[in-house]
Symmetry: C2
Subunit: 152 residues, 2 copies
């Protein structure tokens, strides 16, 4: 893990961000949760176990900082809370309305891949794409549930 921390440290320094303990830990958490697209609260709650003095404000500031420097990417998909993605390579997302998971989607479209520089003559800086629906797994399990006269 020491080696991994050094890699993260270098990433911060390359972007001109001073590698403080809190910043390293936030980045480490994101790198360990590639598939989770964590919310601010998730980052905060988890790191609080290790850093009892950690402030929520620091998590907000740190994530905003990372976002500005392009160290992480933001995923706006639920409308109620921002999520963060260690993976800055262009890709889309799928939000399952049943289990709430956010799944990475790779399309071969030129826009989705970030290859195209403009669209309809406008200069593109960011490309965001997402789907909402029912994921493969939840859809399969739908049949196993009672028809509707279930709960309480």
């Amino acid at each position: 893990m020491i080696t991994n921390m050094n890699i993260l440290k270098n990433r911060l320094m390359e972007k001109g961000i001073k590698p403080t303990f809190q910043r390293l830990k936030v980045l480490e958490y994101l790198s360990n949760n590639l598939k989770n697209h964590p919310t601010v609260e998730m980052v905060y709650e988890e790191l609080l176990k290790e850093i009892p003095t950690l402030s929520l404000t620091t998590v907000y500031n740190t994530l905003n900082n990372f976002l500005e420097k392009g160290l992480v990417s933001g995923v706006i998909i639920t409308g109620t809370e921002a999520r963060y993605d260690f993976d800055t390579k262009y890709h889309h997302h799928f939000l399952c309305k049943i289990c709430g998971k956010i799944i990475d989607i790779d399309l071969k479209c030129g826009y989705a891949l970030g290859e195209k520089r403009t669209v309809s003559g406008h200069r593109i800086d960011e490309v965001h794409g997402y789907f909402k629906g029912i994921c493969k797994n939840c859809y399969k399990n739908l049949g196993t549930k009672p028809k509707g006269h279930s709960s309480s």
Copy 2:
């Protein structure tokens, strides 16, 4: 305009929504602002001139109602506020970081057109896509502005 109001009235009834005065006015406003992708506040502020008793809650409830019934579509793009689109046909959007305009974008991609039913095996219910950048017009005007030592 009477004829137009009747068309809107029918649209509401087709979706099983009782065509009250407030609901008709909200729908009318959206239909007259196809290119604006209005926020809740924009709808409220404008209609308040005509309906001084209008409640912001009603606008929220009405728009949520329309959204559930598929009468309008939602555009989540700024992260800070929801926007609404009278046009429910699948299309993407472009947010200009300079002028703030939200521009309709039509792509020929099967997902953008809403033709594909699944992606990576997951059932698609909604497709959302947007770009952020600098629009054609703002980009053109960039050169005309002083280099940086401008304002006070």
